[in-house]
Each structure stands twice: as C-alpha cells, then as structure tokens.
C-alpha cells in the first residue's frame, strides 16, 4: 500500500512536471517517467496486461517520436524564450475551467460504482497475449517498427542538415 502511494505521488509529480516543463526535452523525459511509473503501478496492482500495453505503447513509442521531434527543433532565441515565459501560464487558464466542468458533470451524474476488475489467469504474459490477442501483436510490431523507422528517417534528416 505504501509503495502504491509513493508511486501514485511520483506519478502525479512526473505528470505535472511534464506539463509545466519549459523545454520539450524535459517534457518528453517527464512523459517517459510518467509512463514507466504508471506501468510499474499497474504491475503492482496485478494488471499485467494493461502494464504491458502502457509500457510498449506510451513509453516505448510516443516518447521515441517525441524525442526525435525535439531533436529536430532548433533552440529558441532569447526573445522567444522571454515571450514564451511571459505567456507560459496563460495556456493553462482552460485547465481549472475544465476541471470544474468535469467535477460538475460528475456531481450531476453521480460518481458511479466502478465494477471490480477481473484478475487474469497467471500464465506468462507473452503467451496470454499471443493466444488472446494475436492481432494486437501484429499492430505492436508495426508500431515499433514504424517508430524506429521514423527515428532513423528524422535523425538522418538532421544529419543531412548538419552537413
């Protein structure tokens, strides 16, 4: 329980850091950390399926692309940086409003009872995956391959630029 609490706090901290980070690199690392923490949390809560998906899809993929995109951008000039800092908070104005709306909506609808989760059988994760969801494996192979291909392509572009 304590471990879960620590992980939850870590998760929130990492997520907030991701959103508030000034540079894109920081944000990307924050996202990766968030994903990893979430994945660990899911394993911890006996949800290996969800954990595998979380790890492979979120941490593995979106971060890869994000980092590659970051690598392609150029640094901000000081003026741009100053302007961005100035405007930094303005973009989050909508966030509390959204929170309030969601809260009101939930209050209006009533927070429902979440059905209890069904624990999976205990055979190995990989075997379960292949037997139950072969299509997903195909999809994941495709995603990973595309991601790697994307990084290769984009980094090669950067190399061309440098030369």
């Amino acid at each position: 329980m304590t471990l879960e609490l620590v992980l939850l706090v870590l998760l929130v901290v990492a997520a907030v850091w991701t959103v508030l980070a000034r540079g894109l690199v920081g944000a990307a690392i924050g996202l990766a950390v968030t994903s990893v923490v979430l994945s660990v949390l899911l394993f911890q809560m006996h949800a290996p399926w969800a954990a595998v998906f979380e790890l492979s899809v979120c941490a593995g993929l979106i971060t890869v692309v994000f980092v590659s995109a970051v690598a392609l951008t150029r640094a901000e000039s000081p003026q741009e940086l100053a302007r961005a800092t100035e405007r930094r908070w303005r973009r989050y104005v909508a966030l509390p409003i959204l929170l309030v709306v969601v809260a009101v909506a939930l209050a209006y609808l009533g927070v429902p009872e979440i059905p209890p989760s069904r624990p999976m059988g205990e055979p190995g994760v990989g075997e379960t995956l292949w037997r139950l969801r072969p299509t997903d494996v195909l999809g994941q192979v495709l995603i990973l391959f595309t991601g790697v291909l994307g990084v290769v392509v984009l980094f090669k572009e950067r190399g061309n630029d440098a030369r």
């Binding site: 973009r91 909508a94 959204l98 709306v101 909506a105 609808l109």
Partner: protein, 623 residues
C-alpha cells in the same frame, strides 16, 4: 407483334453516322455527294422495310432491353403508315441532296447544312418509328435542335430568325411535352406506348384527356406549320438556304406533323365525328387555310409567297384528318404526301430562279419562262397541283377533303373552296410576274439550271402527275391500308364520286382565272393582278396590320417579354445585390473571422478540441 429487322435501327443509325462523317469531311463538294449517297442507301433501307411490313401484313415492333433505372421504354413500332412516311422522307432527302450539289457549288460554308440535313433525317426517322411517347419526344426535341442549327447556318442575318424559330417551335414542343405528361396522368402512368393505348380503345376526352388532346394537337400541327406558331416559316424562307425550305418545312415537317396528328387523333384518342375535338381540328384547319392564303396573296417575294402556301396547305390536311370521316381522313393524308411533292418542287423552282436570276423579288423578275423552260414547266405542273387543277394529284386529294368537309358542315367546305380560289389566284400572279411579262431593267438574263437541279424537279413533277392520273397507286397502295379498319370497305381510288363537287371546283378555278385576267388588265401587270383585293376597303387595314406584325405571336410576345424583362431587371438587380454584395461580404467576413481564429496556436486548437468534447458530451447527455 414480330420483331422488326435490323434495317429499322439502321434507318436512325445510318444517317446519324453520315452526319458525323459530313462534319468531319474537309471539303464541301464531297459533303454533298456523301449526303446523296447516304440518302440513297436510306431510300433502299426504307423500301426494304416497307416491303417487310407489307409482307408481314401488320406492324413490326422492337423494344430495347428495358432500362430499369430510367423507367424509359425505348420501343419502336413500324406499321404501314410509318414505313410509308419513312420512305417518303428518305426520298425527299435524296432529291434535295441532289439538288443541293449544284445549288451549293462553290460555297464553302455548307458543313452545317449537310450535317443538319442528315441529322434531321435520322431524328425524323426515329420520331416516325418511336412507339413510346417519351422516346418520341427525344427525337422530336432533337429535330428542334437541327432546325435551329440549319437556319442559323443560313447566313449572318439568319440568327434572329433561328431564335424566332427556336422559341416558337420550342413553345409548341413544350405543349407536346405537357400533353404527354397529361397522357401519363390520365393513363395512371402504366404505359406511354401509342400502340398499347390505342389497342385499349384510346383515351377519353374528359377534362384531363381533352387538355392532353389540345396540347398534343398544338405540338403536332405546329410542327406541320399551322397557326398560330407558324410565323417563323416566312422569315426562314428569306434567310435560310432554299434547299432547307424544300426539305424541312415543305416536306419532312409536314410528313412528321401530320403523321403524328393522325396518330394522336385516330389512334390515341380514336377521334369520332361527333366530338368537340373534331370540330376544333376543323376550325383550326379552315382558319389556317384562309389566313395563310390571304397573306400569300399579297406577297411580293417568290420564296415568301411559297412559304405562306406551305402554311396554308397544312390547313387542308388538318381539316381532312379533323373531319374524322373516311373520305376526309384519306384526303388529308393523301394531301400530305401530295403537298410534300408539289411544295418541294415549287421551292426547288424558287431556288433555281434565285440561282439563275440572282433575285426572288417579283418586281425585278419577269419573262424568264422562255430562258428556263424546264423550270417553267415544273412550276406550271406544281402550281396546278397545289391549286387543285385536274388531273394532277392535288386535285384528287382536295376533292376528298371537300367531300369529307361537306359531310360535316357546308361552312367548312366553303372555307376550303375559298382557300382554293385564293391559292389559284396567287399562283397565277406568281407565274405571271416571274415567268411571263418583261424582265425588269438591269436584271441579268438567266439560263437553264444544270441537270442535277432539274432532275429532282422533274422527278417531283412526274410524281405529281403519276399520283394524279393513276391515283389508285398511292391510294390503294399507300394511304388506304393505313386506315384499313376505319374505311369499312370504302375505296376512294379513281375518279371523284361527286360530279357536283368537281363542277364547283372548276367554277372556282375559273373564277380565279377571271379575277386574275381582270386584275392584270386593270393594273397592267401580273404582279399587281390582285391589288384590288389587297387594297379593298376593310382588307387593306388588316393587311397593313399584318405587315406590322400585329398578328405575329412571336413579335407580340417580344413586346410583352420586353415589358416583363424591364420589371424583372430591377427585381433582378435587387437579388443580384443580395448575392453579389451582401452574401459575398458575409461569406468573406465569416471567412476572415475564421482565419483570425486559426492563428496557429497549439493550445488554442487543443482548447477547441476540449470544447468539442464538451459539446459532444452535452448532446449525448441531453438526448
């Protein structure tokens, strides 16, 4: 009904192909010969078909594989009548083509004429064979197109006449369309096939059916050139090339219009003599005869005078069909084919005169009979035929029409006979002014036309004589089989039955001759022989109004349209302002506003998406 041979489909496809070839050919001389060749093949095909129908003894039919989606049933049916008019149309086509070879020699702007001629031939063949009314309308409207095209190609001044013809014929076609729609209404949409409706006893002349009859009748008779949509024909006579007049208004359109009228009256509505529709047709016929011939009488131009007769003679056909008695119907249809022959011939003589003398103005013509003997002889025979002089073909068909008219009421007979007197008088005047007398000073001395122009004339002259002297050939061979059911054993071949009517006709012709001789002596010239009628008190004012086109529905329509357009112009300006200014400004304003909202900010776009989620949630939650 057994299937029709492929020949029938070729009758449409072959001339259409010919029209395409003519369009693509580079030289004008080759075009005319292609047209002659195509027409010759067409004649052969038509005769073969005629023999097939004759041999089968009943109608042949063909229907395209049903086009389920369009609900259109593309069906052809060829009976004796259709095969006969098809053959006649092809025959006129070959004569006019041959004539055109020399007439157009040396001109290099005839592509439209030849292509239009062959296209008209294809379309009219289609219209004559079509059994489904919608299908018929397709060919009918196509003919409107070729009509416009051929007049338009007549020269720089022909544009206005072409538009006039398009409007007037288009209007009457619109009536036809409305009539077909009403037939569909009164049939309950079950079938629009002429033969099917005819076989089921025809439509009743109730409110819907009656209106349908009137509209269909307007469509058919206007195609033939009757009142009141006729006024483009005299204008076209001046503007369009002469072979066009000899081909379309004189021959093909008469055949088509009267053919359809007969189909409608006799088959679709099974017209009986005691109905108002019969009287309506007869009144229309009589009025057409008298009014048009009265106008013809005072014309001073060879071609214009002929064109009014092209209108006037239609009256006899409508009158004949309208009598709804066997003698009248046979007479009307016989007159149709006779008219096509002598009127084509007359127009061809007009073309010969125009080509050789350089003018068709009667005041400048004169004395060319001696120089152009073949043309003169052709003119005399055709003029006698149109005036109803025995023993030419026009005499016999007119006698039959008189017979039928008298059987209904003497007033129709009187009108028809008066029309004959005036016809004869106007042709005496025409012949006298153009071929006799002295030539006006300054005109060149003409020579006879080349063989390719006089052969068609002589062929038609021979036809006029043959159909008159040996009238059992056309009557027993062509006309009477059409009406086999209605004739009830009557046979109209041979000499006229009523000698009293013949005597009256002869008296009428003698009156016309006497009037001409008196008038010519009084005025001193053939041209002014009927001036005493022209300037008679009462009539002269009417003629003057006619000259100012007071009676022309097109010109009167233009006045109304002009006023209307003035009103709608300002209305239109207002609407335009709303469209051009207000709506454009509003649209561009919104567009600029939208552009301002798309400033490229990521966070803005994300915010929008989230707002969209809320909208989605609200719509789902609230319903």
């Amino acid at each position: 009904m057994p299937a029709i041979p492929v020949t029938a489909l070729l009758l449409v496809a072959f001339p259409a192909l010919g029209a395409l070839i003519v369009l693509l050919l580079p030289r004008d001389a080759s075009r005319s010969w292609v047209s002659v060749g195509v027409s010759a093949v067409q004649v052969g095909l038509a005769i073969q078909l005629f023999r097939a129908v004759h041999g089968a003894g009943h109608a042949l039919a063909w229907s395209a594989p049903s086009w389920a989606y369009w609900g259109l049933e593309a069906s052809f049916r060829i009976d004796h009548f259709a095969a006969f008019v098809l053959t006649a149309a092809a025959g006129f086509s070959i004569l006019v083509s041959l004539y055109g070879v020399a007439f157009f020699a040396g001109r290099n702007d005839t592509r439209s004429f030849w292509a239009g001629l062959l296209a008209s031939l294809a379309l009219s063949s289609g219209a004559m064979m079509a059994d489904n009314l919608i299908f018929l309308l397709f060919f009918w409207e196509g003919l409107l197109g070729t009509l416009f095209w051929m007049i338009w190609a007549g020269g720089p001044d022909a544009w206005k006449t072409a538009v006039k013809a398009l409007v007037l014929v288009g209007l009457s076609d619109l009536c036809l369309m409305g009539g077909i729609a009403l037939v569909a209404v009164s049939e309950g949409g079950s079938s629009l096939s002429l033969s099917t409706i005819g076989a089921s006893g025809g439509l009743a002349l109730d409110a819907t059916g009656g209106l349908a009859f009137v509209l269909l009748m307007i469509g058919a008779t206007s195609k033939a050139g009757s009142l009141p949509f006729h006024t483009w024909i005299p204008d076209a006579a001046v503007d369009a090339p002469l072979p066009f007049m000899a081909f379309l208004p004189a021959a093909i359109e008469k055949l088509l219009g009267i053919y359809l009228l007969a189909r409608i009256a006799l088959e679709l509505f099974a017209l009986r003599p005691d109905t108002w529709a019969s009287h309506l047709l007869m009144v229309l016929g009589a009025a057409t005869i008298l009014i048009a011939v009265a106008m013809a009488l005072v014309q001073r131009d060879y071609k214009r005078l002929l064109s009014y007769h092209a209108i006037s003679q239609v009256g006899y056909m409508i009158l004949g069909v309208g009598t709804a008695v066997p003698a009248g119907i046979v007479g009307g249809l016989f007159h149709m084919i006779n008219h096509a022959m002598y009127k084509s011939c007359l127009f061809l003589t007009g073309g010969a005169v125009e080509r050789q003398a350089g003018t068709t103005d009667l005041a400048r013509l004169g004395g060319i009979g001696r120089a152009m003997p073949v043309t003169f002889v052709s003119f005399i025979v055709a003029a006698c035929a149109i005036s109803g002089v025995p023993p030419f073909n026009g005499f016999f068909s007119k006698e039959l029409v008189y017979d039928g008219a008298l059987e209904r009421h003497w007033i129709y007979y009187a009108a028809a006979l008066l029309g004959s007197v005036l016809t004869a008088a106007s042709f005496l005047k025409l012949g006298h002014a153009a071929f006799l007398g002295k030539p006006a000073a300054g005109t060149r001395t003409p020579k006879e036309v080349p063989w390719s122009m006089w052969v068609p004339m002589l062929v038609l002259v021979a036809g006029c004589i043959l159909f008159g002297v040996y009238n059992p050939l056309p009557l027993r061979g062509l006309i009477q089989p059409i009406l086999a059911d209605q004739l009830a054993g009557h046979d109209f071949a041979g000499l006229p039955h009523s000698w009293l009517l013949v005597a009256l006709t002869c008296i009428a012709l003698a009156l016309a001759l006497a009037n001409h001789l008196w008038g010519a002596r009084r005025s001193g010239s053939g041209l002014h022989a009927v001036d005493h009628i022209h300037h008679a008190p009462g009539l002269s004012q009417v003629y003057a109004m006619a000259e100012r086109r007071v009676f022309d529905p097109y010109d009167q329509g233009l006045v109304v349209v002009r006023g209307f357009s003035l009103v709608s112009f300002w209305f239109d300006r207002g609407i335009d302002w709303i469209y051009d200014v207000v709506s454009v400004r509003v649209a561009h304003g919104i567009g600029r506003g939208l552009r301002a909202l798309h400033d490229g900010s990521y966070s803005l776009y994300v915010a929008w998406s989230l707002a969209g989620v809320i909208v989605v949630a609200l719509i789902v939650a609230l319903s």
